[in-house]
């Protein structure tokens, strides 16, 4: 793969233990992610995926270890500056109910003081990208959108200033199978292969293997395997990864039985 690419994100022995918890939510994670990679993070509920993302843009600080973005240790950086360089689509979507779709997408461009025309153009472009007609949707409030439409606007909002690093926490959770396939392709196109680094959390093993240039499989706070989709399918590193692949195969069998 990209041999000489710069390292975009590096986790060095990162651990996080929430107050009062008897276990590490993220446990001694070390990963090195190159610029331009599309990393999918796969893991069961509670395995620490969201916690890992939140530490990446300093919504949480690790209890141990370091996180390095483009050579800079983020503990030394101003959190607000770090976050403005990173797009983050949170798991709960979190559109602001008192703002229209257009205003929601424009939040970060406004923080960065873009001029109005540039913001307007960008907002329309992103709404179309999310598969929604601008004239129909821009002036609606989030309460007037379906769950899946809200999620797509959440994704558009995170993409607004075209950040070099994107953290996407289950951005397709509420989207139906057909739209999901379209959006997966669209997201791959946006990623564009070279300059942008995506961290994409999902429960769905098919989605993880399809989208990821590499897949990080998480279980109980640890990364049990970090490898290309082919290698994960061929050589599962431990019992947990094996059981994931197995569950996927089971589903295939179920389909074969139906047809």
């Amino acid at each position: 793969m990209m041999e000489n690419a710069a390292v975009a994100i590096e986790y060095r022995n990162v651990s996080k233990c929430f107050k009062g918890a008897g276990y590490n939510a993220v446990d001694d994670v070390s990963l090195s992610i190159n610029e331009g990679e599309f990393i999918t993070i796969l893991g069961s509920s509670g395995s620490g995926k969201t916690t890992l993302l939140r530490m990446t843009n300093r919504l949480l600080d690790p209890d141990a270890g370091n996180i390095i973005l483009f050579g800079e240790n983020i503990c030394d950086a101003n959190p607000v500056q770090v976050r403005r360089r990173i797009g983050y689509a949170i798991q709960q979507v979190g559109l602001f109910p008192h703002m229209t779709v257009a205003q929601n997408i424009a939040v970060v461009p406004k923080l960065l003081k873009w001029d109005k025309e540039r913001i307007d153009n960008r907002v329309r472009e992103l709404t179309e990208l999310a598969g929604l007609k601008p004239d129909e949707f821009l002036h609606r409030y989030p309460a007037q959108l379906s769950g899946g439409q809200q999620q797509r606007i959440g994704l558009a909002r995170a993409l607004a200033v075209d950040p070099k690093i994107m953290l996407l926490d289950e951005p397709f959770g509420a989207i139906d199978a057909i739209n999901r396939l379209n959006l997966q392709d669209e997201l791959k196109r946006i990623h564009g292969g070279l300059k942008k680094t995506f961290l994409f959390v999902t429960h769905d093993i098919n989605e993880a293997l399809k989208l990821g240039t590499r897949v990080a499989v998480m279980n109980e706070g640890r990364v049990c395997q970090f490898d290309t989709p082919e290698n994960i399918a061929k050589n599962p590193a431990d019992g947990f990864v094996e059981s994931l692949i197995h569950s996927c195969r089971q589903q295939e069998k179920f389909w074969e039985g139906l047809v």
Binding site: R54, N57, L59, V80, Q81, R83, R84, Y88, I90, Q91, Q92, G94, F96, P97, H98, M99, T100, V107, V108, L111, R140, Y141, P142, A143, Q144, S146, R157
Partner: protein
């Protein structure tokens, strides 16, 4: 019945100026109290949320003030503040601050944590999170608190006549002392009308700020 109606007409024929004077006093006292209680209640509410540790204490203090009947507060205030419009305004403000303060706190605390996290995660500074997300989300409850306070103020301002603050309470208390039903009616209905009108005005403001609330998920 006809006699009462006749007396009402007679009253207005002879006391038009005095009536409007009292009406104006009533509105002016109510308005001043409302402004003062917003100026105090709002920032204190914000501070309560910022400094969580003291919050319980402050809220409890104002809640106790609320349990005391407004009449008692007014009578007590004579002790400490004397009589006249000034003391009445101060005493009534004590009654109007709690509903505003408590709704400011409830509104600000009601913002879902994940929404604040989304705002923070997008790179808003703490001040921007407050101004662009937290306060706008609290606004509906803040306005509801102001509405509650407003109704209470207009009603309680009636009693302020007892400590020499003027207002429509004068007509009512005069009516009580000389047993003239038409005076009770004029005073009572006027207070009710002010109360209704002020709620209507606040409703309009409310609707303007909460356009997004009119839409329900379909």
């Amino acid at each position: 019945m006809q006699e009462i109606w006749g007396n009402i007409v007679l009253y207005f024929e002879n006391n038009m100026d005095a009536y409007f004077n009292m009406l104006q006093q009533h509105i002016s006292i109510s308005f001043r109290v409302l402004v003062i209680s917003i100026i105090i209640g709002f920032p204190v509410g914000v501070l309560c949320v910022v400094f969580k540790k003291r919050q319980k204490m402050v809220i409890r203090m104002f809640q106790i003030l609320r349990i005391i009947p407004s009449l008692a507060v007014l009578v007590l205030s004579i002790r400490f503040l004397g009589i006249g419009t000034g003391p009445a305004v101060v005493a009534l403000s004590f009654l109007a601050i709690p509903p505003i303060l408590m709704n400011v706190v409830a509104g600000l605390e009601g913002a879902p944590p994940f929404m604040l996290e989304a705002a923070k995660g997008m790179g808003m500074t703490p001040l921007q999170v407050w101004l662009r997300v937290r306060l706008p989300l609290a606004l509906p409850l803040v306005l509801a608190g102001i509405k509650t306070a407003m109704v209470e103020i207009v009603a309680s301002a009636t009693i302020a006549a007892l400590i020499g603050a003027g207002g429509l309470g004068q007509i009512i208390f005069q009516g009580l002392s000389v047993r003239r039903t038409e005076l009770l009616l004029i005073g009572g209905v006027s207070v009710a009308i002010i109360s209704i009108l002020s709620v209507l005005i606040l409703d309009l403001i409310d609707r303007f700020f909460q356009r997004y609330k009119r839409y329900k998920l379909h």
